[in-house]
Symmetry: C2
Subunit: 363 residues, 2 copies
């Protein structure tokens, strides 16, 4: 198959439905993380994801799956994505139903489609290496009926990620999957990293539409069957009505559960500077630091005896801070959060307490 043919069948699915509260108060139910210009670049995370893919995938082949409440935001932030490519989930149902719908939708338009599936809110720092990895991946899945996961060379014994152990080599940077392991303990993670056989599951996948539909049919029929039973509606005016009926009834299953069961799971090992931006600490880690070792977003900071902090401030504000180390200081206009980075897992409790005390006002 020629490069041009490959190009013609390349598609991208951006999963954009998250409502994560870990970046509260900066991320909010009405403005989740993926829509925020977190790095002060002038582009939101979903826009950066889009920008990263368009060199390989034509905007007419980019499909965005998001929650119905974010339809206007998507149209505003990604004006070049055709309206018919914006799939509005009527309910939140984890990643397998999302990916199933997108696969059936794309297959209706292009039965030979190869798809890269990516979260909207991850960060890639080395875009040229990313581009090469994606092109190699498209080539690999175009030639093989496999489920390909991009797996990142680990740089530390992270316990918050899933790990993939590589098996038989299938070419440069391509391997059969040997094992999947979710969030190992610290000691285990250290062993994983030391062996050189384990890689982080980045949550970025490549496969032919037909391959993922086959896998869903085999390993998650309760998700796939409603779509298969309505295969004629995709790409027609009847699609939205059908989805409104079948989607909320889908079980909330992660695509990881499908891939982990598949006998044709493969990995492409990559090292393009990936960060899932799941936490304030991860944003701190990847951001440039001031001389004092602080990260400042959208603000000027006068810092005294203060290091290791991340300041994420809405509006052009001066922050003067003395004697504060390793804190998150996030000011979203109506909410100011001051929290040690090591307590960031508790932010969701704070968000919940705010809901109990003030209803939806600060959610």
């Amino acid at each position: 198959m020629s490069q041009t043919d490959n190009n013609r069948h390349r598609w991208c699915v951006i999963m954009c439905g998250g409502v994560g509260s870990r970046f509260w108060p900066y991320s909010r139910v009405d403005r989740p993380k993926q829509f925020i210009d977190f790095l002060g670049t002038g582009r939101s995370l979903v826009q950066m994801t889009y920008d990263r893919l368009t060199p390989m995938v034509d905007p007419s082949h980019i499909v965005v799956v998001t929650n119905a409440r974010y339809a206007d935001t998507i149209r505003e932030q990604l004006p070049d994505v055709p309206a018919g490519n914006i799939l509005l989930e009527p309910a939140r149902r984890s990643t397998a139903p999302c990916i199933a719908w997108a696969a059936w939708h794309i297959a209706a338009a292009d039965p030979e489609a190869s798809i890269i599936v990516t979260p909207a809110d991850h960060l890639v720092t080395r875009e040229r290496e990313f581009e090469k990895a994606v092109l190699d991946g498209f080539d690999f899945v175009g030639r093989n009926d496999v489920l390909l996961t991009m797996a990142v060379t680990p740089t530390r014994p992270e316990t918050a990620y899933g790990y993939i152990q590589i098996g038989k080599p299938l070419g440069e940077n391509f391997y059969k999957v040997k094992t999947f392991t979710q969030k190992p303990k610290k000691e285990m993670a250290e062993v994983f990293v030391s062996t050189g056989e384990f890689f982080w599951n980045s949550g970025i996948f490549l496969w032919k539409a037909s391959a993922i539909i086959d896998a869903l049919a085999a390993y998650a029929p309760e998700v796939n069957t409603p779509f298969a039973d309505n295969r004629d509606v995709f790409g027609t005016a009847a699609e939205a009505g059908c989805i409104a009926r079948i989607f909320p009834a889908c079980p909330a299953i992660s695509i990881d559960n499908v891939v982990e069961k598949a006998t044709n799971a493969c990995v492409e090992t990559v090292a393009y500077g990936w960060n899932d931006l799941e936490t304030w600490s991860s944003l701190y880690d990847i951001s440039p630091k001031t001389r004092d070792g602080n990260v400042t977003q959208n603000c000027q900071v006068l810092s005294y005896n203060s290091s290791g902090n991340i300041f994420c401030i809405s509006g052009d504000k001066l922050v003067a801070v003395d004697g504060l180390n390793d804190y998150i200081i996030a000011d979203a206009g109506d909410v100011l959060l001051i929290c040690p980075k090591i307590h960031e897992q508790d932010i969701r409790h704070i968000v919940n307490d705010a809901k109990v005390a003030y209803g939806d006002k600060f959610q």
Copy 2:
């Protein structure tokens, strides 16, 4: 002299020219502390001072001395003070020139005037006791040619205040002054408090206009002479022009220097819940606390593992704080300050650094 006569000759001078930076960023050059509703009562400190005095002094006898830049603010905040009673200093020259001008101005209208001189920005918590002390003080200075300082029973060995040692009793709560001591060291302050002979200099004075003019003539002639040489202008259309000429040439001398030299210095000992509100800590100390031991001004606080903080926030904001103890958290809209209370003396350095870095923008 009858009570009615006394009442007729009672005057008040509110010294309102401060531009203190210790409450930065909440207090600013354009909105110094005395004009802020610091306690969330709906009245600024100068309004609270005015409200405290009007039961004893008619608004037509209240004179406000302030900097020319605050003329509009005074007119807005104290609309019942006659325009002719607002004395606008063309330059900042400490308290002796301010008090000299006010005394000459009042003496021109009422040669028998007795005057209470008070800072605009102190706090009194027990107003009934304050009222009794002021009435007793007016009575005392009406009958005696003395310089009377209100001296507060100390409640702790404070090192930031001046102390007055009392001498010969002159009636209930009235004494000759034995010594003045500026800001003693801790050990000395502890001795002072333990003896029961030492009181805090509150900076509130009472005297006849003639008595303070005599004292200025004797102990600060370089301040008094320019006013004495122009005694005919006060209360006339020529006053402002004369002041514009003579006031900037006055040396910046504190009234303390005059009172300390005077042989007729007396004190009235008082215990009406006085706080000079010079620092964030003093505001913390006098404010009601949450169950967690925090002080919250103009904001809702969700507090976790946090105590001893003072939150002073502009706008109706939610603050969520974890693991922060004994800090000042002040948000003035364009500036956020986070600083340990024990470092509050360094805030003026921060203000200066902000000036160096950003000019007048955040001053």
